[in-house]
Protein backbone atom coordinates (compact mmCIF):
# COMPACT_ATOMS: atom_id res chain seq x y z
CA UNK A 1 0.00 0.00 0.00
CA UNK A 2 1.12 3.51 -0.72
CA UNK A 3 0.02 6.58 1.16
CA UNK A 4 -3.03 6.82 -1.08
CA UNK A 5 -3.84 3.19 -1.71
CA UNK A 6 -2.68 0.15 -3.59
CA UNK A 7 0.29 -0.02 -5.94
CA UNK A 8 -0.51 -0.16 -9.64
CA UNK A 9 1.64 -1.87 -12.25
CA UNK A 10 1.56 -2.16 -16.02
CA UNK A 11 1.31 -5.76 -17.24
CA UNK A 12 0.42 -5.31 -20.92
CA UNK A 13 1.35 -2.87 -23.65
CA UNK A 14 0.23 -2.31 -27.23
CA UNK A 15 0.65 0.45 -29.79
CA UNK A 16 0.18 1.48 -33.37
CA UNK A 17 1.90 4.56 -34.72
CA UNK A 18 3.86 5.98 -37.63
CA UNK A 19 6.76 3.94 -36.25
CA UNK A 20 5.07 0.55 -36.47
CA UNK A 21 1.97 -1.51 -35.86
CA UNK A 22 3.04 -2.89 -32.48
CA UNK A 23 4.53 -1.51 -29.26
CA UNK A 24 7.72 -3.45 -29.96
CA UNK A 25 8.10 -1.95 -33.44
CA UNK A 26 7.28 1.51 -32.10
CA UNK A 27 9.85 1.26 -29.32
CA UNK A 28 12.55 -0.27 -31.54
CA UNK A 29 12.16 2.63 -33.99
CA UNK A 30 12.40 5.12 -31.10
CA UNK A 31 15.59 3.67 -29.73
CA UNK A 32 17.06 3.55 -33.23
CA UNK A 33 16.04 7.15 -33.88
CA UNK A 34 13.89 6.36 -36.91
CA UNK A 35 11.63 9.23 -37.98
CA UNK A 36 8.07 8.35 -39.01
CA UNK A 37 7.34 11.80 -40.42
CA UNK A 38 7.01 11.73 -44.22
CA UNK A 39 5.04 13.20 -47.14
CA UNK A 40 1.35 12.52 -46.57
CA UNK A 41 0.17 9.40 -48.38
CA UNK A 42 -3.27 8.52 -46.98
CA UNK A 43 -5.28 11.64 -47.89
CA UNK A 44 -5.40 14.05 -50.86
CA UNK A 45 -2.82 16.80 -50.46
CA UNK A 46 -3.71 19.24 -53.29
CA UNK A 47 -5.39 21.67 -50.94
CA UNK A 48 -2.86 21.39 -48.11
CA UNK A 49 -0.08 23.86 -47.40
CA UNK A 50 1.66 21.42 -45.08
CA UNK A 51 2.38 18.15 -46.89
CA UNK A 52 3.92 16.09 -44.08
CA UNK A 53 2.54 14.04 -41.21
CA UNK A 54 3.37 11.00 -39.12
CA UNK A 55 0.74 8.69 -40.56
CA UNK A 56 0.12 5.04 -39.76
CA UNK A 57 1.25 3.41 -43.00
CA UNK A 58 0.72 0.00 -44.55
CA UNK A 59 -2.35 -0.57 -42.41
CA UNK A 60 -5.21 -2.56 -43.96
CA UNK A 61 -8.41 -2.44 -41.87
CA UNK A 62 -9.81 -5.56 -43.57
CA UNK A 63 -6.83 -7.55 -42.32
CA UNK A 64 -7.86 -6.85 -38.72
CA UNK A 65 -11.66 -6.59 -38.70
CA UNK A 66 -14.33 -8.61 -40.47
CA UNK A 67 -16.68 -7.04 -42.98
CA UNK A 68 -19.62 -7.17 -40.56
CA UNK A 69 -17.84 -5.20 -37.88
CA UNK A 70 -15.84 -2.73 -39.91
CA UNK A 71 -18.79 -0.42 -40.80
CA UNK A 72 -19.10 0.39 -37.07
CA UNK A 73 -15.45 1.30 -36.65
CA UNK A 74 -14.00 4.71 -37.35
CA UNK A 75 -10.24 4.63 -37.84
CA UNK A 76 -9.81 5.87 -34.24
CA UNK A 77 -11.70 2.85 -32.85
CA UNK A 78 -9.74 0.54 -35.13
CA UNK A 79 -6.49 1.91 -33.72
CA UNK A 80 -7.77 1.58 -30.14
CA UNK A 81 -8.80 -2.04 -30.72
CA UNK A 82 -5.60 -2.91 -32.56
CA UNK A 83 -3.42 -1.63 -29.71
CA UNK A 84 -5.71 -3.07 -27.01
CA UNK A 85 -5.53 -6.53 -28.59
CA UNK A 86 -1.76 -6.41 -28.34
CA UNK A 87 -1.85 -5.13 -24.75
CA UNK A 88 -4.36 -7.73 -23.57
CA UNK A 89 -2.53 -10.59 -25.31
CA UNK A 90 0.68 -9.31 -23.72
CA UNK A 91 -0.90 -9.35 -20.26
CA UNK A 92 -1.97 -12.99 -20.66
CA UNK A 93 -5.35 -12.18 -19.09
CA UNK A 94 -8.76 -13.51 -20.12
CA UNK A 95 -11.22 -10.88 -18.95
CA UNK A 96 -14.16 -13.21 -19.61
CA UNK A 97 -12.93 -15.66 -16.95
CA UNK A 98 -14.80 -15.47 -13.64
CA UNK A 99 -15.59 -11.93 -12.57
CA UNK A 100 -12.45 -10.38 -14.03
CA UNK A 101 -14.43 -8.31 -16.54
CA UNK A 102 -16.56 -6.82 -13.74
CA UNK A 103 -13.39 -5.78 -11.92
CA UNK A 104 -11.85 -4.07 -14.96
CA UNK A 105 -12.20 -0.42 -15.97
CA UNK A 106 -11.84 0.78 -19.55
CA UNK A 107 -10.80 4.42 -19.80
CA UNK A 108 -9.51 5.77 -23.07
CA UNK A 109 -8.39 9.23 -24.12
CA UNK A 110 -9.12 10.80 -27.47
CA UNK A 111 -8.97 14.41 -28.59
CA UNK A 112 -11.47 14.46 -31.42
CA UNK A 113 -12.95 10.95 -31.71
CA UNK A 114 -14.35 9.73 -35.02
CA UNK A 115 -13.00 12.52 -37.16
CA UNK A 116 -12.70 10.48 -40.37
CA UNK A 117 -16.37 9.44 -40.26
CA UNK A 118 -17.49 12.94 -39.37
CA UNK A 119 -15.52 14.33 -42.28
CA UNK A 120 -16.77 11.67 -44.71
CA UNK A 121 -20.43 12.28 -43.90
CA UNK A 122 -20.00 16.06 -44.00
CA UNK A 123 -18.35 15.73 -47.42
CA UNK A 124 -21.29 13.67 -48.72
CA UNK A 125 -23.87 16.03 -47.27
CA UNK A 126 -22.34 19.44 -48.04
CA UNK A 127 -19.86 18.59 -50.79
CA UNK A 128 -21.93 16.16 -52.84
CA UNK A 129 -25.32 17.50 -51.75
CA UNK A 130 -26.32 13.94 -50.91
CA UNK A 131 -29.36 14.12 -48.60
CA UNK A 132 -28.71 10.77 -46.89
CA UNK A 133 -26.28 10.39 -44.01
CA UNK A 134 -25.06 6.92 -43.05
CA UNK A 135 -27.10 5.45 -40.17
CA UNK A 136 -23.99 4.31 -38.31
CA UNK A 137 -22.50 7.81 -38.30
CA UNK A 138 -23.40 8.60 -34.69
CA UNK A 139 -21.94 5.32 -33.49
CA UNK A 140 -18.74 5.90 -35.43
CA UNK A 141 -18.26 9.57 -34.56
CA UNK A 142 -19.05 9.60 -30.84
CA UNK A 143 -15.92 10.15 -28.79
CA UNK A 144 -16.69 7.27 -26.42
CA UNK A 145 -16.78 4.73 -29.26
CA UNK A 146 -13.18 3.52 -28.77
CA UNK A 147 -13.87 2.74 -25.10
CA UNK A 148 -17.12 0.94 -26.05
CA UNK A 149 -15.47 -1.23 -28.68
CA UNK A 150 -12.54 -2.18 -26.47
CA UNK A 151 -15.00 -3.08 -23.69
CA UNK A 152 -17.14 -5.17 -26.04
CA UNK A 153 -14.16 -7.00 -27.50
CA UNK A 154 -12.81 -8.13 -24.12
CA UNK A 155 -15.94 -8.14 -21.93
CA UNK A 156 -14.87 -5.27 -19.66
CA UNK A 157 -17.80 -4.41 -17.40
CA UNK A 158 -16.31 -2.02 -14.86
CA UNK A 159 -16.33 1.79 -15.16
CA UNK A 160 -15.86 2.74 -18.82
CA UNK A 161 -15.68 6.12 -20.51
CA UNK A 162 -13.63 8.42 -22.67
CA UNK A 163 -11.53 11.28 -21.38
CA UNK A 164 -11.13 14.26 -23.68
CA UNK A 165 -8.53 16.92 -22.96
CA UNK A 166 -6.99 17.43 -26.41
CA UNK A 167 -3.26 16.68 -26.29
CA UNK A 168 -3.39 15.54 -22.66
CA UNK A 169 -6.30 13.09 -23.15
CA UNK A 170 -4.25 9.91 -22.86
CA UNK A 171 -2.37 11.02 -19.75
CA UNK A 172 -5.60 12.14 -18.09
CA UNK A 173 -7.28 8.84 -19.06
CA UNK A 174 -4.42 6.71 -17.75
CA UNK A 175 -4.30 8.77 -14.56
CA UNK A 176 -8.00 8.17 -14.03
CA UNK A 177 -7.51 4.42 -14.59
CA UNK A 178 -4.58 4.51 -12.15
CA UNK A 179 -6.73 6.21 -9.50
CA UNK A 180 -9.43 3.56 -9.90
CA UNK A 181 -7.05 0.65 -9.45
CA UNK A 182 -5.18 2.40 -6.64
CA UNK A 183 -8.38 3.12 -4.73
CA UNK A 184 -9.86 -0.37 -5.20
CA UNK A 185 -12.73 0.79 -7.37
CA UNK A 186 -11.33 -1.63 -9.96
CA UNK A 187 -8.58 -4.26 -9.85
CA UNK A 188 -7.52 -3.80 -13.46
CA UNK A 189 -7.92 -1.34 -16.28
CA UNK A 190 -7.44 -1.30 -20.01
CA UNK A 191 -6.42 2.28 -20.70
CA UNK A 192 -4.54 4.55 -23.06
CA UNK A 193 -5.31 6.88 -25.91
CA UNK A 194 -6.25 6.79 -29.59
CA UNK A 195 -6.42 9.37 -32.34
CA UNK A 196 -6.96 9.34 -36.11
CA UNK A 197 -6.82 13.01 -36.94
CA UNK A 198 -4.96 13.19 -40.24
CA UNK A 199 -7.84 14.35 -42.43
CA UNK A 200 -7.91 17.24 -44.86
CA UNK A 201 -10.17 19.48 -42.71
CA UNK A 202 -8.16 18.76 -39.55
CA UNK A 203 -4.92 19.53 -41.35
CA UNK A 204 -6.43 22.78 -42.67
CA UNK A 205 -7.57 23.76 -39.17
CA UNK A 206 -4.10 23.16 -37.75
CA UNK A 207 -2.52 25.01 -40.67
CA UNK A 208 -4.74 27.98 -39.92
CA UNK A 209 -3.33 28.20 -36.38
CA UNK A 210 0.15 28.60 -37.88
CA UNK A 211 1.76 26.14 -35.50
CA UNK A 212 2.66 23.46 -38.05
CA UNK A 213 6.17 22.80 -39.34
CA UNK A 214 6.56 22.31 -43.08
CA UNK A 215 9.96 20.58 -42.91
CA UNK A 216 9.91 18.18 -39.95
CA UNK A 217 9.50 18.18 -36.18
CA UNK A 218 12.61 19.58 -34.43
CA UNK A 219 11.82 19.90 -30.72
CA UNK A 220 13.95 22.13 -28.51
CA UNK A 221 16.39 23.25 -31.20
CA UNK A 222 16.81 26.74 -32.58
CA UNK A 223 15.46 25.84 -36.03
CA UNK A 224 12.20 24.35 -34.73
CA UNK A 225 9.26 25.45 -36.83
CA UNK A 226 6.30 23.84 -35.11
CA UNK A 227 4.51 20.58 -34.67
CA UNK A 228 3.82 17.75 -37.09
CA UNK A 229 0.52 15.91 -36.78
CA UNK A 230 0.62 12.19 -36.01
CA UNK A 231 -1.92 9.45 -35.32
CA UNK A 232 -2.20 6.06 -33.68
CA UNK A 233 -2.91 4.53 -30.29
CA UNK A 234 -1.23 3.21 -27.20
CA UNK A 235 -3.04 0.82 -24.85
CA UNK A 236 -2.01 -0.71 -21.55
CA UNK A 237 -3.23 -3.14 -18.94
CA UNK A 238 -2.99 -1.68 -15.45
CA UNK A 239 -3.16 -4.14 -12.60
CA UNK A 240 -3.09 -4.03 -8.85
CA UNK A 241 0.45 -4.98 -7.84
CA UNK A 242 -0.26 -7.82 -5.40
CA UNK A 243 -2.61 -9.44 -7.90
CA UNK A 244 -0.04 -9.20 -10.69
CA UNK A 245 2.65 -10.71 -8.47
CA UNK A 246 0.38 -13.54 -7.34
CA UNK A 247 -0.30 -14.64 -10.88
CA UNK A 248 3.34 -14.28 -11.89
CA UNK A 249 2.67 -11.60 -14.49
CA UNK A 250 5.52 -9.82 -16.22
CA UNK A 251 5.56 -6.35 -14.69
CA UNK A 252 6.67 -3.77 -17.27
CA UNK A 253 6.76 -0.82 -14.89
CA UNK A 254 4.97 0.67 -11.90
CA UNK A 255 2.55 3.46 -12.68
CA UNK A 256 3.54 5.36 -9.59
CA UNK A 257 1.76 8.70 -9.69
CA UNK A 258 0.30 11.55 -11.63
CA UNK A 259 -0.17 15.27 -11.39
CA UNK A 260 -2.80 17.36 -13.10
CA UNK A 261 -3.22 21.12 -13.15
CA UNK A 262 -5.01 23.74 -15.24
CA UNK A 263 -3.53 27.08 -16.23
CA UNK A 264 -6.93 28.82 -16.15
CA UNK A 265 -5.33 31.61 -18.11
CA UNK A 266 -4.90 31.37 -21.87
CA UNK A 267 -6.23 28.98 -24.53
CA UNK A 268 -2.86 28.48 -26.21
CA UNK A 269 -0.01 30.05 -24.25
CA UNK A 270 1.22 27.65 -21.55
CA UNK A 271 1.98 28.71 -17.99
CA UNK A 272 5.41 27.84 -16.65
CA UNK A 273 4.30 27.75 -13.04
CA UNK A 274 1.24 25.54 -13.58
CA UNK A 275 3.13 23.14 -15.82
CA UNK A 276 5.88 22.94 -13.18
CA UNK A 277 3.28 22.31 -10.50
CA UNK A 278 1.91 19.32 -12.49
CA UNK A 279 5.42 17.83 -12.56
CA UNK A 280 5.97 18.46 -8.83
CA UNK A 281 2.59 16.93 -8.05
CA UNK A 282 3.41 13.82 -10.07
CA UNK A 283 6.72 13.46 -8.19
CA UNK A 284 5.04 13.87 -4.82
CA UNK A 285 2.22 11.51 -5.75
CA UNK A 286 4.76 8.85 -6.71
CA UNK A 287 6.91 9.46 -3.63
CA UNK A 288 9.83 10.56 -5.80
CA UNK A 289 12.44 13.26 -5.40
CA UNK A 290 13.65 15.16 -8.47
CA UNK A 291 17.00 13.41 -8.13
CA UNK A 292 15.28 10.01 -8.57
CA UNK A 293 14.14 10.84 -12.10
CA UNK A 294 16.55 9.92 -14.87
CA UNK A 295 14.40 10.72 -17.88
CA UNK A 296 11.55 13.05 -18.83
CA UNK A 297 9.59 12.27 -21.97
CA UNK A 298 8.74 15.88 -22.74
CA UNK A 299 5.58 17.25 -24.28
CA UNK A 300 8.07 18.84 -26.73
CA UNK A 301 5.77 19.82 -29.58
CA UNK A 302 8.50 21.92 -31.27
CA UNK A 303 6.45 25.09 -31.17
CA UNK A 304 8.39 28.19 -30.15
CA UNK A 305 6.31 28.70 -27.01
CA UNK A 306 5.95 25.14 -25.70
CA UNK A 307 9.57 24.12 -25.79
CA UNK A 308 10.92 27.26 -24.09
CA UNK A 309 8.25 27.23 -21.38
CA UNK A 310 8.47 23.49 -20.79
CA UNK A 311 12.24 23.94 -20.35
CA UNK A 312 11.74 26.68 -17.77
CA UNK A 313 9.09 24.60 -16.01
CA UNK A 314 11.49 21.66 -15.74
CA UNK A 315 14.06 24.00 -14.17
CA UNK A 316 11.42 25.22 -11.76
CA UNK A 317 10.25 21.73 -10.75
CA UNK A 318 13.68 20.06 -10.67
CA UNK A 319 15.87 22.89 -9.39
CA UNK A 320 19.58 21.95 -9.47
CA UNK A 321 18.72 18.46 -10.75
CA UNK A 322 17.28 19.79 -14.03
CA UNK A 323 20.72 19.64 -15.61
CA UNK A 324 21.13 15.99 -14.69
CA UNK A 325 17.91 14.64 -16.14
CA UNK A 326 17.74 13.47 -19.75
CA UNK A 327 14.85 15.11 -21.58
CA UNK A 328 13.66 14.07 -25.02
CA UNK A 329 10.69 14.58 -27.29
CA UNK A 330 9.83 11.43 -29.19
CA UNK A 331 7.29 13.51 -31.16
CA UNK A 332 10.27 14.17 -33.41
CA UNK A 333 9.72 10.56 -34.59
CA UNK A 334 6.01 9.68 -34.15
CA UNK A 335 4.60 13.18 -34.56
CA UNK A 336 1.98 14.71 -32.32
CA UNK A 337 -0.79 12.16 -32.01
CA UNK A 338 -2.94 14.56 -29.92
CA UNK A 339 -5.22 12.45 -27.69
CA UNK A 340 -3.00 9.40 -28.22
CA UNK A 341 0.25 11.28 -27.58
CA UNK A 342 0.70 10.42 -23.90
CA UNK A 343 -0.05 6.75 -24.61
CA UNK A 344 2.43 6.39 -27.47
CA UNK A 345 4.93 8.25 -25.29
CA UNK A 346 4.34 5.87 -22.39
CA UNK A 347 5.82 3.20 -24.67
CA UNK A 348 8.98 5.36 -24.72
CA UNK A 349 8.91 5.78 -20.94
CA UNK A 350 8.54 2.03 -20.37
CA UNK A 351 11.23 1.28 -22.94
CA UNK A 352 13.67 3.63 -21.23
CA UNK A 353 13.08 1.97 -17.85
CA UNK A 354 13.28 -1.59 -19.13
CA UNK A 355 16.07 -1.34 -21.64
CA UNK A 356 18.13 1.43 -20.05
CA UNK A 357 18.09 3.45 -23.25
CA UNK A 358 16.91 7.05 -23.58
CA UNK A 359 15.19 7.58 -26.94
CA UNK A 360 16.56 10.66 -28.70
CA UNK A 361 15.13 13.99 -29.81
CA UNK A 362 15.58 13.59 -33.56
CA UNK A 363 16.04 16.28 -36.24
CA UNK A 364 17.96 18.41 -33.74
CA UNK A 365 20.19 21.06 -35.36
CA UNK A 366 21.54 23.91 -33.21
CA UNK A 367 20.95 24.71 -29.56
CA UNK A 368 18.52 27.42 -28.61
CA UNK A 369 19.62 29.58 -25.62
CA UNK A 370 16.01 29.36 -24.40
CA UNK A 371 16.23 25.57 -24.31
CA UNK A 372 19.25 24.68 -22.19
CA UNK A 373 18.60 21.13 -20.94
CA UNK A 374 20.04 17.79 -22.06
CA UNK A 375 17.73 16.83 -24.93
CA UNK A 376 19.58 13.66 -26.04
CA UNK A 377 19.92 15.04 -29.57
CA UNK A 378 19.74 12.70 -32.55
CA UNK A 379 21.23 9.57 -30.97
CA UNK A 380 19.79 7.32 -28.27
CA UNK A 381 21.82 7.05 -25.10
CA UNK A 382 22.44 4.15 -22.75
CA UNK A 383 21.49 5.24 -19.28
CA UNK A 384 20.01 3.29 -16.40
CA UNK A 385 17.01 5.11 -14.98
CA UNK A 386 14.77 4.11 -12.09
CA UNK A 387 12.00 6.64 -12.56
CA UNK A 388 10.57 8.55 -15.50
CA UNK A 389 8.13 11.41 -15.99
CA UNK A 390 6.00 11.80 -19.11
CA UNK A 391 4.51 15.24 -19.81
CA UNK A 392 1.38 16.19 -21.73
CA UNK A 393 0.02 19.72 -21.96
CA UNK A 394 -3.17 20.50 -23.84
CA UNK A 395 -4.59 23.57 -25.52
CA UNK A 396 -6.74 25.35 -23.00
CA UNK A 397 -3.98 24.93 -20.42
CA UNK A 398 -4.82 21.41 -19.21
CA UNK A 399 -1.69 19.67 -17.96
CA UNK A 400 -1.15 16.07 -16.94
CA UNK A 401 2.15 14.49 -15.98
CA UNK A 402 2.57 10.81 -15.15
CA UNK A 403 5.34 9.14 -13.17
CA UNK A 404 6.64 5.61 -13.71
CA UNK A 405 9.07 3.58 -11.67
CA UNK A 406 11.05 0.58 -12.89
CA UNK A 407 9.62 -2.84 -12.06
Amino acid sequence: MTRLGRRVVITGMGAISALGHTARETWTAMREGRVGIAPIGNIPTERLLVGIAAEVRGYDPAAHFDARRLPLLDRVSQFALHAAREAVAHSGLDFRAGDLGERTACIIGTGVGGENSHNEQARRFYGENNPRVHPLSILRVMANAPACHVGIEFGLKGPAFTVASACASANHAMSQAFEMVRSGRADLAVTGGAEACVTVPTMKAWEAMRVMADDTCRPFCRQRRGMVLGEGAGMFVFEEFARARRRGATILAEFAGSGATADAADMVFPSETTVARAMSQALADAGLNPSDVGYINAHGTATAANDAIETRAIHRAFGPYADQVAVSSTKSMHGHALGAAGAVELVAAIGALRERVIPPTMNFLDSDPECDLDYVPNVAREKAVRAVLSNSFAFGGLNCVVALKGA
Partner: protein
Protein backbone atom coordinates in the same frame (compact mmCIF):
# COMPACT_ATOMS: atom_id res chain seq x y z
CA UNK B 1 -21.13 0.62 -49.30
CA UNK B 2 -22.80 -0.06 -52.67
CA UNK B 3 -21.89 2.19 -55.55
CA UNK B 4 -24.74 4.24 -56.91
CA UNK B 5 -26.07 3.16 -60.29
CA UNK B 6 -25.10 5.35 -63.20
CA UNK B 7 -28.73 5.61 -64.21
CA UNK B 8 -31.03 4.53 -61.40
CA UNK B 9 -34.13 4.80 -63.56
CA UNK B 10 -32.96 1.91 -65.70
CA UNK B 11 -33.69 -0.36 -62.74
CA UNK B 12 -37.37 0.48 -62.42
CA UNK B 13 -38.35 -2.90 -63.77
CA UNK B 14 -39.80 -4.60 -60.66
CA UNK B 15 -37.97 -7.90 -61.02
CA UNK B 16 -34.61 -6.17 -61.40
CA UNK B 17 -35.50 -3.90 -58.52
CA UNK B 18 -36.43 -6.87 -56.37
CA UNK B 19 -33.22 -8.60 -57.29
CA UNK B 20 -31.09 -5.64 -56.24
CA UNK B 21 -33.02 -4.96 -53.03
CA UNK B 22 -33.04 -8.60 -51.89
CA UNK B 23 -29.32 -8.63 -52.60
CA UNK B 24 -28.80 -5.61 -50.35
CA UNK B 25 -30.90 -7.17 -47.55
CA UNK B 26 -28.98 -10.44 -47.77
CA UNK B 27 -25.62 -8.71 -47.75
CA UNK B 28 -26.27 -6.20 -44.99
CA UNK B 29 -28.12 -8.64 -42.72
CA UNK B 30 -25.65 -11.42 -43.52
CA UNK B 31 -28.41 -13.91 -44.36
CA UNK B 32 -28.92 -16.39 -47.18
CA UNK B 33 -30.72 -14.75 -50.02
CA UNK B 34 -32.95 -17.78 -50.59
CA UNK B 35 -34.62 -17.07 -47.23
CA UNK B 36 -36.02 -13.78 -48.48
CA UNK B 37 -39.46 -13.63 -50.07
CA UNK B 38 -41.76 -10.69 -50.78
CA UNK B 39 -43.72 -11.47 -47.62
CA UNK B 40 -40.70 -11.72 -45.34
CA UNK B 41 -40.65 -9.05 -42.67
CA UNK B 42 -37.24 -7.81 -41.61
CA UNK B 43 -38.19 -8.99 -38.13
CA UNK B 44 -38.91 -12.53 -39.42
CA UNK B 45 -35.50 -12.53 -41.03
CA UNK B 46 -33.93 -11.71 -37.69
CA UNK B 47 -32.69 -8.33 -38.88
CA UNK B 48 -31.69 -6.03 -35.99
CA UNK B 49 -33.03 -2.47 -35.90
CA UNK B 50 -29.52 -1.16 -36.64
CA UNK B 51 -29.12 -3.50 -39.63
CA UNK B 52 -32.58 -2.43 -40.85
CA UNK B 53 -31.47 1.22 -40.77
CA UNK B 54 -28.36 0.31 -42.76
CA UNK B 55 -30.45 -1.69 -45.29
CA UNK B 56 -32.80 1.25 -45.82
CA UNK B 57 -29.82 3.59 -46.20
CA UNK B 58 -28.05 1.34 -48.71
CA UNK B 59 -31.21 0.94 -50.78
CA UNK B 60 -31.73 4.71 -50.76
CA UNK B 61 -28.12 5.31 -51.69
CA UNK B 62 -28.28 2.75 -54.51
CA UNK B 63 -31.38 4.26 -56.14
CA UNK B 64 -30.92 7.86 -55.00
CA UNK B 65 -34.23 7.95 -53.18
CA UNK B 66 -34.98 8.88 -49.59
CA UNK B 67 -37.22 6.45 -47.80
CA UNK B 68 -39.80 8.22 -45.60
CA UNK B 69 -39.65 7.36 -41.91
CA UNK B 70 -43.19 7.96 -40.65
CA UNK B 71 -45.44 7.83 -43.70
CA UNK B 72 -48.57 5.64 -43.75
CA UNK B 73 -48.35 5.46 -47.56
CA UNK B 74 -45.16 3.46 -47.33
CA UNK B 75 -45.04 0.01 -45.79
CA UNK B 76 -41.40 -0.86 -45.57
CA UNK B 77 -41.79 -3.60 -42.97
CA UNK B 78 -41.53 -6.40 -45.57
CA UNK B 79 -39.05 -7.13 -48.32
CA UNK B 80 -41.81 -6.76 -50.92
CA UNK B 81 -42.90 -3.51 -49.29
CA UNK B 82 -39.37 -2.13 -49.68
CA UNK B 83 -39.43 -3.02 -53.41
CA UNK B 84 -42.81 -1.34 -53.85
CA UNK B 85 -41.67 1.74 -51.93
CA UNK B 86 -38.59 2.17 -54.10
CA UNK B 87 -40.67 1.63 -57.29
CA UNK B 88 -43.11 4.32 -56.09
CA UNK B 89 -40.33 6.77 -55.19
CA UNK B 90 -38.59 6.21 -58.52
CA UNK B 91 -41.85 6.75 -60.39
CA UNK B 92 -42.44 10.00 -58.49
CA UNK B 93 -38.98 11.36 -59.30
CA UNK B 94 -38.87 14.38 -61.57
CA UNK B 95 -38.15 13.21 -65.10
CA UNK B 96 -39.44 9.67 -64.49
CA UNK B 97 -41.33 8.15 -67.43
Amino acid sequence: MAARLENPLSATDESTLQDVIFGIIAKEANIDRSRISVDSTLKDLGVSSLDAAVIIFEIGDRFDVTMPDHDANFDIGTAGGLVAAVAKLLAEKPGAT
